[in-house]
């Protein structure tokens, strides 16, 4: 994440240059960061539970993009005895978990709706301490 922040700081100045440069790992990371931030914002501002879920999906996929980007062969050291697919594999896991999580979250939402006739998360404060 510090890398991401660093990258974000790095692109403020020469943003235009970057758009014209060849597609590199940094570009992927930028996309991931944008996705992640968009997801976070979505989660924080949406009152509709479904919107919040969508934000979650965005966060997860932003992370996925990062995983895949860091799996790039250019970032790897020489002679590493590995297949080089670690990022992709973890991304697949995340997708899988995201599907499961979505199923559970949707079920909770549906139940909430049944009980409260709304999907407004601000109304869902039953777990207040």
């Amino acid at each position: 994440m510090s890398g991401m922040l660093g990258s974000t700081a790095a692109i403020v100045g020469p943003m235009f240059a970057a758009t014209t440069a060849d597609v590199s790992v940094t570009h992927y990371l930028v996309v991931g960061a944008i996705l992640f931030t968009a997801g976070i914002v979505c989660m924080a501002v949406k009152r509709n539970a479904l919107g919040v879920l969508m934000g979650i999906e965005l966060v997860l996929n932003g992370a996925n993009v990062n995983f895949v980007a860091f799996a790039s062969p250019y970032l790897r050291g020489q002679g590493a005895p590995a297949l080089g697919l670690d990022g992709q594999v973890i991304a697949l896991f995340v997708i899988l978990l995201a599907a499961a999580e979505a199923a559970v979250a949707l079920a909770i939402t549906l139940n909430f709706y049944n009980n409260h006739s709304t999907v407004d998360v601000d109304r869902a404060d039953d777990l207040k301490g």
């Binding site: 510090s2 976070i40 924080a44 601000d122 404060d125 777990l127």
Partner: protein, 801 residues
């Protein structure tokens, strides 16, 4: 069957039969018929069995050793023996035939049934020592016990249903109501018979002591039969405690004998295998080698001369013993042993100064008084003195004689003024026991034991008669009786026989009741002794004076009870003759009270039977003594002859007659008023009525100090020991209080403070838990960003290097 094997078998079974009855009643008593009615039959059957077996034994004895007239001065006595040696055992007698010389011992059989413990010198056995005296005592005890069992099954019928005891006042104002205790009475009676017979048959002093104590505890049970009455339980305790005092002396005697001689057996016990027999007490003190003359045994000499023995080479000790004995070493030990054993007899036979328990023992039911406290238990002491006689030195005998004389005089004087019919008889018993002791003490072995037997008959008769009177009048007080002869002719008649027997009535030199013979023998022996030792002639005066007093108080009793007009019409109207079951024993006993002293033509009689058992070496008298000057004990047969006999008989007759006449003048014809006499002799009367103030004296001397010490001890306990303990407890409590404060304040405070802090923290933190999802997301985001900023400030690292 050999007589030596037959006698122990018969008498042993006779001894054990009451034990069987005791155990049976103990376990099954309450289930024996309604209210345990059949317990009386069980006990009576047992004692009748004993009687029959004893009679068989007596028959066996008489068949083997026919009683013949003693051949005094003709070189021997009781020459009916057939080669049995002194203290012969079945195995040991054959080789000891000592012929018909003067030195031979009594006919006796001794042996052991069972060794309780055998190791080293210690040998405790259950054994027998059977001679004519044993057989005679068996017959007497079982016979009287049989009569009393029969009598008691009638007398105790009140106990067959619930009893209301009018002498026990409850705090609520009512009387005690309790279930009857019929079986319990017969249970104790059976145990008593067993114990008494155990003393009689015992073959050694340890066994005597065991049964001695058993008799004591039976007495305690029986005196305290009405234990709800304070007087009864106190009397029982008194009897028990006073007897313990005597038994303490007896233990000292036992220890003296045991420590110095290493045996408590009376007779020699064969070892077997050709070894010489282990000597018993009798042959140690009166060795056959010395013609059965009494001497301090070697063991005691060595014991007393322990210092010299230690200095002398072991081989020379035996040679020096005679020298040491000549110096008088060990004689005090033998004296102590004798006096110690006699102390036990003083307690059991109610001699001065321990006689105070016997009159109080009349709190028990009357059959108990008759059996235990007149005929048998108190006879145990006299019997033991008679049995132990060979070991008693002249000095011990003199002590015994004086104790007997004092006892007989004190008790007789108290009996003069007693008004309780049973108490008169009780003091009469004490007095007669004093007679026996005195007789034994002046060398009248046969006279004392003869009186023991005859007294057993007429005293049990007198007690049963008094029981019959009490049964009819429901009072013991003679002042409320009078004129009962009309309503109770059988009781009055038999009691008259008893009174005549006890005063020794008879036609001088012709014939008399049983007491006539035994009392004359005592009087004659006392006279004989007084002539030989003029310094001690007061003993004879005591006997003669005692005879007068006896006659007076016995006939005072009879006249007050049966003669004249009824003093209390309420009592007289109520009185009735007792049932046949109670009268029959009276008649049987009165017959015996008449004939027991007779000697049939041919020599058969108690006196000659007793001669068979005379201890070795006592026939020819004895001279000796070191503590009270030299004493001469004339041979007993001398007192039956010549001037002594005539004087004694006439004295006895005159004194008895004087006593009866005086009693008649005061209570029958009433020429002399007893009240006037009492007024004139007021101090003396008060002194006697106060029973010489012995109870008060003992109360002041022993009871009060003991109670004082007890009070002091309890005061110490409460005031000092309890205080200390209370103080310790108080201190512990205070310390615990401090401890509790620390626990509550510091430890609990710390724990509670932690808990409170956590609680409060929780309360504060829970405000963060808003429940708003979007807020959480914001927290996460802000937190994460803050963490990143923090990390980037602190660690300035770069991901791509």
């Amino acid at each position: 069957m050999d007589i030596a094997a037959q006698l122990p078998l018969l008498l042993g079974l006779a001894w054990l039969a009451p034990l069987v009855s005791f155990v049976a009643i103990l376990f099954f008593g309450p289930r024996m018929g309604p209210h345990g009615r059949n317990a009386a039959w069980v006990a009576t059957a047992a004692i009748v069995t004993s009687l029959v077996l004893s009679l068989f034994a007596a028959g066996t004895w008489l068949g083997a050793h026919p009683v013949q007239a003693a051949h005094h001065g003709a070189g021997g006595h009781g020459d009916g023996d057939h080669g049995e040696s002194h203290a012969a055992d079945a195995a040991g007698h054959a080789g000891h035939a000592s012929g018909h010389d003067e030195a031979h011992g009594p006919l006796a059989y001794a042996g052991d049934w069972y060794a309780l413990y055998e190791g080293g010198a210690l040998r405790l056995t259950i054994g027998w020592y059977i001679d004519a005296l044993t057989v005679l005592m068996f017959v007497v005890v079982t016979f009287i016990a049989t009569c009393i069992h029969v009598y008691a099954s009638g007398y105790m019928h009140d106990e067959l249903h619930d009893v209301t005891d009018h002498e026990v006042h409850l705090s609520g104002g009512g009387h005690l109501h309790r279930p009857g205790r019929f079986p319990r009475f017969f249970q104790a009676l059976s145990l008593f018979c067993f114990s008494m017979l155990g003393i009689v048959i015992a073959g050694n002093l340890a066994m005597v002591f065991i049964f001695w104590e058993l008799v004591g505890i039976c007495s305690w049970f029986l005196i305290g039969f009405y234990y709800e009455r304070k007087s009864a339980s106190t009397a029982a305790n008194k009897a028990f405690i006073v007897n313990r005092v005597g038994d303490f002396g007896m233990l000292i005697g036992l220890m003296a004998l045991w420590g110095a001689l290493g045996t408590l057996h009376f007779a020699d016990s064969p070892v077997g295998g050709g070894e010489p027999a282990r000597p018993g007490l009798f042959s140690l003190v009166r060795p056959a080698a010395g013609g059965h003359a009494i001497q301090v045994p070697d063991g005691m000499v060595k014991f007393a001369a322990a210092a010299e023995v230690a200095k002398t080479p072991a081989a020379e000790v035996a040679g020096k013993i005679d020298g040491w004995r000549g110096m008088g070493l060990g004689r005090w030990l033998l004296f102590t042993a004798g006096v110690g054993i006699f102390c036990g007899c003083v307690g059991k036979s109610a001699q001065f100064p321990l006689f105070v328990w016997l009159p109080d023992a009349m709190e028990g039911p009357t059959p108990v008084s008759a059996l235990v406290h007149s005929a048998t238990m108190v006879a145990a002491g006299v019997y033991l003195v008679g049995r132990f006689y060979p070991v008693l030195t002249p000095d011990v005998l003199l002590v015994i004689a004086y104790v007997g004389a004092i006892t007989l005089f004190i008790a007789a004087t108290i009996a003069l003024v007693a008004n309780d019919i049973k108490r008169v008889l009780a003091y009469s018993t004490v007095s007669q026991l004093g007679y026996m002791m005195l007789a034994l003490g002046v060398g009248g072995w046969s006279a004392g034991l003869f009186h023991l037997v005859t007294h057993a008959f007429f005293k049990s008769l007198l007690f049963l008669c008094s029981g019959s009177v009490i049964h009819a009048c429901h009072t013991n007080d003679m002042r409320k009786m009078g004129g009962l002869a009309r309503v109770m002719p059988w009781t009055a008649g038999t009691m008259l026989v008893g009174c005549l027997a006890i005063i020794g009535a008879g036609i001088p030199f012709v014939i008399g009741l049983s007491g006539y013979y035994s009392k004359d023998a005592i009087l004659a022996q006392a006279l004989s002794f007084a002539q030989a030792n003029p310094a001690h002639s007061i003993l004879y005066l005591a006997v003669a004076g005692g005879a007068f007093l006896t006659a007076f108080y016995m006939f005072r009793l009879w006249f007050m009870t049966f003669a004249g007009e009824p003093r209390d019409h309420h009592v007289a109207d109520h009185a009735h003759e007792s049932p046949a079951v109670m009268v029959a024993p009276l008649v049987v006993l009165s017959v015996l009270a008449v004939v027991a002293g007779w000697t049939l033509p041919g020599g058969f009689g108690l006196a000659n039977l007793l001669e068979q058992a005379r201890p070795a070496g006592t026939a020819e008298g004895m001279t000796g003594g070191f503590a009270f000057g030299t004493l001469v004990f004339p041979a007993e047969h001398l007192s039956h002859e010549g001037a002594i006999h005539v004087t004694a008989t006439l004295t006895a007759f005159a004194t008895a007659l004087a006593g009866v006449v005086l009693a008649a003048l005061m209570y029958l014809v009433r020429i002399i008023s007893p009240a006037v006499v009492a007024t004139i002799l007021r101090p003396a009367y008060a002194f006697l009525a106060g029973r010489w103030y012995f109870d008060e004296l003992y109360h002041a001397l022993f009871v009060v100090p003991v109670l004082g010490i007890a009070k002091l001890a309890s005061g110490t306990d409460r005031g000092v020991i309890d205080r200390i303990i209370d103080g310790l407890a108080w201190t512990a409590r205070q310390l615990a209080g401090i401890d509790a404060w620390i626990d509550r304040t510091l430890v609990d405070g710390l724990v509670n403070a932690t808990a409170t802090a956590t609680w409060n923290a929780g309360l504060e933190l829970k405000k963060l838990q808003t429940g708003h999802l979007r807020q959480y997301v914001m927290f996460i985001v802000v937190g994460t960003v803050a963490l990143f900023v923090l990390a980037s400030l602190l660690f300035r690292t770069s991901i791509a290097g």
